[in-house]
């Protein structure tokens, strides 16, 4: 049962990364693809009615993590205290920037919020990637199952770990690049005119970076976390996930060259899902490895809530998520079509 919830949780985080990923990515590339305030309005208009719902996936995934794996939630949230608080502040600033930008038609006001929006999107992408890097590398859990990591030490991956070391920084940069690609492909799909053309150029530009970052991660991760390597050597079927990621990435490039924005965007979705599933599969059964000895690691089993709660949780989670999926399909259909530079309210 705990493994079922581990899979559901990975599903929710993957949904979050795919959905909020495109609006974070759109923010990260906003100044690259949009030169005027009107064009940036077009960028924000393409995510305006959707970003809030996308972010709910993070809240719902957090809630699910909380009740299914309370020990993991407690240890990791208090251990990664400072960067999580930065994430919160950035989420606040970003949400406010999107919602309040269009309230006052003053060029200074709009420029200010555009910068806030873009910078906070960019930093969030890096921080979320670094967070994943930290989970892969593991944390110095003590005997009681707690830890507290400083922001950085000497940037080396060693016993004196910090939240930022060279490995987690690389994962953060890789996350930024892949979300920038994802966001650029979203904009290619959802906008028209100059922004669409520049978004396609940006996607072509970033693609090479994403490809290189993927190779680097594939080499480094099993070295930083040997458990991942063991998982993939012991059981062959897990290779479908990295294969999915690679196929998605290549597909995105092919479709982009053919000018098929939807296919390219879906390829990028497959890439993100494949990468996250690869990481999750590689970690399992760990949910947070310990750098202080294997016995202290948090696993799917020792971090999970009691059996009754997990079973009864499924009874409401499944219908609840079916409803939510229904709303999403309805809302995305309602806001289907391309966003023009003029006449949108953001």
């Amino acid at each position: 049962m705990a493994t079922v919830w581990f899979c559901l949780l990975v599903f929710m985080f993957a949904m979050y990364v795919v959905l909020d990923g495109f609006d974070l990515g759109a923010g990260a590339v906003a100044f690259l693809v949009a030169r005027t305030p009107e064009e940036r309005g077009q960028v924000i208009g393409s995510i305006g009615p959707l970003w809030d719902g996308n972010e709910v996936w993070l809240v719902a995934a957090g809630g699910t993590l909380y009740f299914a794996f309370p020990a993991l939630y407690a240890a990791s949230f208090s251990g990664f205290y400072l960067p999580l608080m930065f994430v919160l502040w950035l989420l606040i600033l970003r949400g406010i920037a999107i919602e309040f930008r269009g309230e006052i038609a003053n060029p200074l006001w709009i420029d200010f919020w555009d910068v806030v929006f873009s910078v906070s999107s960019l930093l969030l992408a890096v921080l979320l990637g670094a967070a994943l890097g930290n989970v892969l590398r593991g944390a110095p859990l003590n005997e009681q199952g707690w830890f507290f990591l400083p922001l950085w030490t000497n940037l080396r991956v060693g016993p004196q770990a910090g939240i930022l070391d060279w490995y987690t920084v690389i994962v953060g940069v890789a996350a930024l690049l892949s979300l920038a690609l994802h966001g650029a492909l979203w904009l290619a799909l959802k906008t028209e005119g100059a922004v669409e053309a520049r978004a396609k150029d940006a996607a072509r530009l970033v693609w090479g970076g994403v490809f290189a970052a993927t190779i680097v991660l594939a080499v480094l991760t099993p070295w930083v976390q040997p458990h991942v390597g063991e998982r993939f050597t012991s059981q062959a079927w897990g290779w479908v996930f990295p294969f999915l990621a690679l196929a998605g990435l290549v597909w995105a490039r092919l479709r982009l060259t053919q000018g098929r924005a939807l296919g390219a965007f879906l390829g990028s979705c497959a890439y993100l899902i494949g990468m996250l599933a690869t990481a999750a599969y590689g970690l399992y059964p760990y949910v947070l490895p310990a750098t202080t000895g294997e016995s202290r690691a948090l696993t799917v089993m020792n971090a999970a809530a009691a059996e009754y709660g997990l079973r009864i949780g499924l009874a409401w989670w499944i219908p609840g998520m079916l409803l939510a999926t229904g709303y999403f399909i309805y809302v995305y259909r309602s806001f289907a079509g391309k966003v023009r530079p003029e006449g949108n309210r953001y």
């Binding site: 949230f77 502040w89 709660g309 409803l323």
Partner: protein, 446 residues
């Protein structure tokens, strides 16, 4: 006292108090928006649609702030209250996750359509979307109150071998009798905030001679709903909450009432200052025997005072608890007087000309916010020294590895960020109120 614990408590108190300034209005307004939309349909009255559009704009601003200040609360259970979360996450994580799955998805999906899709949806479609937003926001309130009610009055659990608190009955958790009275009281409180805000803006427009057609509708709806809601706030919802306290948390009731000694025929303190040094109420103004009657429906019933309980189980800030409670009840009583008087004038047909009454309504704007905040302060301080009543002390719930300095850093960060949000919020609300309800049809462009 332990410094880190104090900072963690202030951290949560500050962020949750600030957050609740926004949802109390959006939950109240969500209900009033449904009423505006229903009246527009039933009476085929375009002006009610225009009223709804105006309040929807203010709803949107409040909602955005409610969302961005709400996310930190869920995170803080893990960041600042890790020991509590590890022990109780299997129980309260259920309701918090349900809030995300059932309420937030619904709310966030349909709010955009409600705010910007009026033309595309048609009148009935738009009405339905308003109802869905209302259901989403009130469901969200339910799951949060349910979580809090479990901390006040834990049910449906058993204790595991290593101090884990294990969920034993989800229906027990959701049907906690405490939750249902607390929910009724909380949501009605939100409705009162909504009514006073709508009435206050209506009074402002009438007094300053603008948008009078809309302002009369604001007042009609808010005064009628407000008159009912303010009465329900004291009885039965407040009354039953008080009686639940008397049975399950008698020490909290004694502290709230400033009752230091156990008495038969205990008096109800209206005014007075708790004097912790001398264990008495200074300058008391009391109604004899009233507390016994209100609590047990008998004039001479025995009500336990603080002296009946060991001092380690007393709430740790009795004066603040006492004042919060008295401010809440005192304001609640004033609200009834204001709303009933306004309703009487409305019925007589003179409300829109009674400048003094309009002034009272205009100036009453901040008070429901104060009353709701005082109410939550009462609930949270009253539960002390427990984080889960009778099960886990607050001192044992904080994150063991997050030291005072780190927590203070982020508390200061939140204070600065929220100061900025406050300025932006006031600026934008001022602009919307100055702009007022307009005829411009909302564009359907997404």
């Amino acid at each position: 006292m332990n410094t880190a614990l104090t900072v963690h408590r202030l951290h949560f108190a500050f962020t949750v108090t600030y957050h609740y300034l926004f949802p109390q209005l959006t939950m109240g307004l969500a209900a009033l928006l449904v009423i505006f939309k229903t009246l527009a349909l039933r009476r085929d009255d375009e002006v009610y649609d225009r009223c709804a559009r105006f309040w929807a704009r203010l709803f949107g601003i409040n909602f955005a702030l409610g969302v961005v200040t709400g996310i930190p609360l869920e995170f803080q259970f893990g960041t600042n209250w890790a020991a509590f979360s590890r022990a109780a996450g299997g129980v309260i994580g259920q309701t918090l996750a349900m809030e995300g799955v059932f309420a937030f998805f619904l709310e966030s999906s349909f709010l955009g359509l409600f705010l910007f899709g009026e033309q595309r949806l048609g009148r009935w479609g738009h009405w339905l979307v308003a109802v869905l937003v209302f259901v989403g926001s009130w469901l969200s309130g339910f799951f949060i109150v349910c979580t809090n009610a479990w901390m006040q009055h834990p049910v449906g659990y058993r204790l595991g071998p290593d101090g884990q608190i294990l969920l034993e009955s989800l229906s027990g958790l959701l049907l906690n009798p405490w939750a249902w009275w607390q929910y009724a009281h909380t949501m009605n409180g939100a409705l009162i905030t909504g009514c006073f805000v709508v009435a206050s803006v209506g009074a402002f427009y009438l007094l300053s001679g603008q948008h009078e057609e809309d302002a009369r509708r604001f007042l009609r709806v808010s005064v009628v709903v407000g008159a009912v809601a303010t009465v329900l706030q004291i009885f039965p919802t407040g009354d039953f909450q008080g009686r639940l306290l008397a049975y399950h948390e008698p020490v909290t009731l004694a502290a709230m009432e400033g009752l230091f000694r156990t008495e038969n025929g205990a008096p109800l303190a209206i005014l007075g200052q708790p004097d912790m040094e001398n264990r008495r109420l200074d300058n008391p103004l009391v109604v004899p025997r009233m507390l016994s009657f209100l609590t047990f429906r008998r004039w001479l019933a025995q009500v336990k005072g603080l002296d009946a309980f060991p001092e380690v189980d007393w709430p740790d800030n009795i004066p603040l608890l006492y004042y919060s409670y008295h401010i809440m009840v005192g304001l609640g009583t004033f609200f009834i007087a204001i709303m009933l008087t306004a309703a009487f004038l409305l019925w007589r047909g003179t409300l829109f000309r009674s400048r003094w009454m309009l002034w009272v309504l205009l100036l009453s704007l901040p008070f429901p916010y104060i009353a709701n905040t005082a109410g939550w302060t009462t609930a949270e301080l009253g539960r002390q020294p427990w984080v889960i009543y009778g099960l886990m002390r607050t001192a044992d719930g904080a994150s063991p590895m997050v030291v005072a300095g780190n927590a203070l850093f982020t508390l200061i960060g939140f204070a600065g960020l929220y100061a900025l949000l406050s300025v932006l919020f006031l600026l934008l609300v001022y602009r919307e109120v100055a702009r007022g309800p307009e005829d411009e049809a909302v564009t359907g462009a997404g």
